[in-house]
Amino acid sequence: MTALIKIEWLKIKKYPAFWWMVIIVMLTYPAINTMTYYGYMQATTGKDMAKNIARMFLGNPFAFPETWHSVAYFSSFFILLPSILVIMLVTNEYTFKTHRQNIIDGWSREQFITSKLFDVLIVSLIVTGFYIIVALGFGLYADSATVYQWSKELQYIPLFLLQTFAQLSIAFLLGYVIKKAFIALGIFLFYYLIIENIAMNYARFKLNDVGRFLPFEISDRLIPVPAFFSRFGKDAKASYDHAISQIPEHVVYTVLLTALIWFICYKVHKKRDL
């Protein structure tokens, strides 16, 4: 196990795209949350009576413990960035034909897939690490009076990790099956940004919300919209509570889908010509 991780680290640590991803994520996560934070501040700060009411009414989404939830939600929009890296990490092996050489040199075919699973896990952990730092930073900065509540809602850390790992696993599957980086990336983007959103919204209104079983939506629902969305009326409150109540269910679905993805990869790799 550790031998596999060490070898993957040898491959990754000098890969420029990896460091680009790290830098971009390092900039993007704080940036998107800062933008949202200042948007919120602007809407709720001032002498204006309405703004003060708004602040009391909405609460601060970046104070503890809600920061764990809000930052997870906004950061998860950018799954695209690590997805590109994951797709590159698997399609590189085909481009360089090192998927063959690794076997020739003495890996089993299972070890090859396991090594890639570790890649996805490593990337997920790094991304989750950034999320934790950013969420923590906002929690401390936004409102020092709520720091004592820091340990509430920590469940969003494992949820964020699971969501990231699940969605990166889909990216991996695409790269693994399609083999060509640009085609895999194209399909990934087109599906993730367009197809699934259309299908999901259509299903929401017409098909009793079966869209929640679409590959990305399954894990998207691990982290529902931040709590302040629930304060815009009775309907919003009901749908927020419903989304929260569905999280455990979606944990199960996500784990099942992700397990299925890796099971397929193992099975296919055991049999196919490389």
Partner: protein
């Protein structure tokens, strides 16, 4: 003697194309085993199967008397088809990965194999900056890492300049001297002729023949003779006993004998006694190339 590798009835199809048809042969320990065949005859397919890159449709193979496994592959240094390395990594970093996966060699060995293939000076350059020949050298270095007992080379001299080709040939001879078993696919007959002890010939996925080089290629000795009057000589030698065939090649007459049966003195005396003085008399081993074309010819 132990067989290093045994293939039995290996078959492989790509759709309707049969790439290998029930190929069986053994590679004895210490052999330099050449696999010959024109482009598309199934050489690389066969090597890919024994290295678990491709799955055969039928048949089986054994390395060191055991079914192929990651453990057996770790004992074999292999270069298959193209040099496969991470483009963004240096020569040394790539070999570090080879070393980590195969468990063969250590840090010093990596430097040593880089010296053998003359890439030591460029050890820190990225693989993507290498020329074709340098990439090939690195692949050979990776195969040599940790001094494995068995080496598999698929077209080892691909992309090398004449000096490089000669160096690889010397390297193979030296490895063979040290008792290594070398399995080498090539379409360069010259290469095979100069280094191989055994050969297998593939043609359109069928194994035509396999065995010791001398047995496969020279089942006949050719005696070339000439005299002032070639016509008279030809007429005379037609009646010479025990030959299997006779041909005219310009002014020379070629007499074919089963291997090892020819006695030049007898031919000389025979002609002299019949009143013809020879101005040329020699035994010629059949050229590999000629034999190869004969064997792989479409009939």
């Amino acid at each position: 003697m132990q067989q290093v590798l045994s293939l039995s009835s290996i078959s492989k199809s790509y759709g309707s194309i049969k790439a290998l048809k029930e190929v069986s042969f053994d590679v004895p320990e210490g052999a330099v085993f050449g696999i010959l065949g024109p482009n598309g005859s199934g050489k690389t397919t066969m090597l890919s199967i024994i290295l678990d890159i491709l799955k055969s449709d039928a048949g089986s193979f054994q390395w060191f008397g055991q079914p192929g496994s990651p453990a057996t592959r770790k004992r074999i240094g292999s270069l298959l088809e193209t040099p496969n390395f991470y483009h963004y990594l240096s020569a040394i970093d790539n070999l570090n990965i080879t070393q980590a996966i195969s468990g063969r060699g250590n840090k010093e060995d990596i430097e040593q194999v880089l010296k053998i293939v003359k890439l030591y000076e460029r050890r820190k350059s990225k693989f993507s900056t290498f020329s074709l020949g340098m990439k090939q050298r690195l692949a050979i270095a990776a195969a040599l890492l940790g001094d494995p007992q068995v080496l598999v080379f698929d077209e080892p001299t691909n992309g090398l300049d004449p000096v490089g080709i000669a160096e690889i040939r010397e390297l193979i001879k030296e490895l063979s001297k040290r008792g290594k078993t070398i399995i080498m696919a090539s379409h360069l007959l010259d290469e095979v002729e100069k280094v191989c002890t055994h050969v297998a010939i593939l043609k359109k996925g069928t194994l035509i023949t396999a065995g010791n080089v001398d047995e496969v290629f020279s089942n006949e000795d050719i005696v070339e003779v000439s005299a002032a009057d070639p016509d008279q000589l030809f007429a005379l030698l037609e009646n010479y006993p025990a030959h299997t065939n006779i041909k005219r090649d310009g002014n020379r007459v070629q007499l074919f004998f089963p291997i090892g049966t020819v006695k030049l003195e007898d031919i000389n005396r025979y002609c002299f006694e019949k009143g013809i003085s020879l101005n040329l008399l020699l035994v010629r081993k059949e050229r590999l190339e000629t034999r190869f074309f004969e064997l792989t010819n479409d009939k």
